[in-house]
């Protein structure tokens, strides 16, 4: 019979996305076989992440400062207050940040409108975005949602809300990826690339 403690660990691990019962068991045995310091470090890291990492109350990105303070993206004085980039999630924000091209502020929606999944505007950080616009000098809002149906729906919905406020609303350009191949591009991408062509 397997010890209860081991069963509990397997059951917890199996709740992680993409981890089945078998993999959970393998991971649990790995923890058991490793030096005790590894398990202690893992447990401490898990506890720390839930205790310390929270969402920034301004942009809803990750933040590990004291409660009620804003994150580095929001407080960095070198960043431009006039441009705000709206992203679906934190991984997209980090991807944009890695380009080192964008120097404005961010707003993380934590999802996109998904009519077929029943995800509406109230489940996203849209109300918070509107509140934020009331007391900030933002002139341009870049909508950086994905170019799929949900991302497009979200971008159009935001445009409908924000255009009347006199803001400049822009959308990330869409087209052929670098190193891409016209022959393999889908119709929608190719059509968008054609209509957004630029003078050389």
């Amino acid at each position: 019979m397997t010890p209860d403690a081991l069963n509990r660990l397997v059951a917890q691990l199996a709740k992680l996305p993409g981890i089945g019962e078998k993999t959970a068991q393998r991971l649990a045995f790995h923890v058991l076989r490793s030096p005790p310091d590894f398990a202690k470090g893992l447990a401490a890291a898990l506890t720390e992440v839930v205790d310390k990492v929270r969402l920034c109350p301004r942009c809803f990105s990750l933040h590990d400062g004291p409660a009620d303070t804003r994150c580095g993206f929001c407080t960095d004085a070198r960043r431009d207050d006039k441009v705000l980039c709206v992203v679906e999630n934190i991984s997209d924000q980090l991807a944009l940040e890695r380009t080192k091209e964008f120097k404005g502020r961010y707003h993380v929606l934590h999802g996109v409108l998904s009519p077929l999944e029943g995800v509406g505007p109230d489940q996203l950080r849209i109300r918070e975005l509107l509140l934020r616009l009331e007391d900030s000098p933002i002139e341009e809002l870049i909508v950086a949602t994905n170019p799929d149906v949900e991302g497009e729906a979200t971008a159009l919905y935001l445009t409908k809300l924000l255009k009347p406020l006199g803001l400049r609303v822009t959308r990330l350009a869409q087209g052929i990826p670098m190193g891409g191949d016209l022959e393999y591009a889908d119709q929608a991408t190719l059509a968008r690339a054609l209509s957004a062509r630029r003078e050389l």
Partner: protein
């Protein structure tokens, strides 16, 4: 293992694990099918933009005993990407897809409905479908799947529905005042609405005024929710974006 190719419309698509997606297709000859698209989240080339809701494609499918179908490859016939340029058109397209997804059953072909859905998406893409076209599409979809609502004559006695009809999804639609005692859960409905829906169902192509459309929407929502056992999710979206 059996390989087959079928024309299909993508009804919906969800991410599965790190790299894959599960796609629900409305195939012309095999009805609704759910297939596993390996690597669809990562490989941009194999399914390049093709698994978006509404895309019309030729699907290469592989069936293995006791296993989920596998989507091996696709050829896009039309991606209907222009309809993604406006919120009301996105909302209507997604609503029509969800309606079909819920009305259909796996492996039950409905070629007439397939053609109706494709025709409707085509109209949306070409900006030729207003809100009345959606009501008409819904009535057609219900008819093709055996849920045709009855607006005239009376669903119970077959007589004229008269000036004070009642609507009761449980009894299939509209009943006359005389049959009212037999439908305790029936709700009063205006004769003008019943008349408008009966004409639309019969193929008359006159756009309905907004006020009548709003009441038709409520009535169809009730009817569809009764037969599916739940309200369609994209109905809320249509309300949120202020379209019908």
């Amino acid at each position: 293992m059996e390989r087959f190719t079928d024309e299909a419309l993508v009804l919906s698509c969800v991410d599965y694990g790190e790299a894959d997606r599960l796609v629900t297709l409305f195939t012309r000859a095999h009805g609704r099918l759910t297939a596993f698209a390996a690597g669809a989240r990562k490989s941009k080339r194999r399914f390049a933009g093709a698994l978006e809701a509404g895309t019309w494609l030729k699907a290469q499918l592989v069936e293995r005993r006791g296993d989920t179908l596998r989507l091996d490859g696709v050829d896009v016939l039309r991606s209907y990407h222009h309809l993604r340029e406006e919120l009301p058109r996105i909302a209507r397209a997604l609503y029509s897809l969800e309606l079909c997804r819920e009305l259909l059953r796996d492996h039950e072909p409905h070629e007439a409905l397939f053609d109706a859905l494709r025709g409707y998406l085509e109209l949306l893409e070409e900006r030729q479908a207003g809100p009345t076209s959606l009501l008409k599409f819904e009535l057609d979809a219900l008819q093709h799947t055996g849920f045709r609502p009855r607006f005239a004559p009376c669903a119970l006695c077959g007589g004229p529905t008269g000036a004070r009809p009642l609507f009761d999804p449980e009894h299939g639609g509209v009943v006359c005042e005389g049959c009212a005692p037999r439908v305790p859960r029936g709700v009063p409905v205006s004769a003008s609405l019943v008349d408008a829906l009966a004409r639309l169902q019969a193929g008359e192509r006159t756009p309905l005024p907004a006020e009548l459309r709003a009441r038709a929407r409520q009535l169809l929502n009730t009817f569809i929710a009764h037969h599916l056992g739940r309200r369609l999710k994209s109905v809320d979206f249509m309300e949120q974006v202020g379209t019908d």
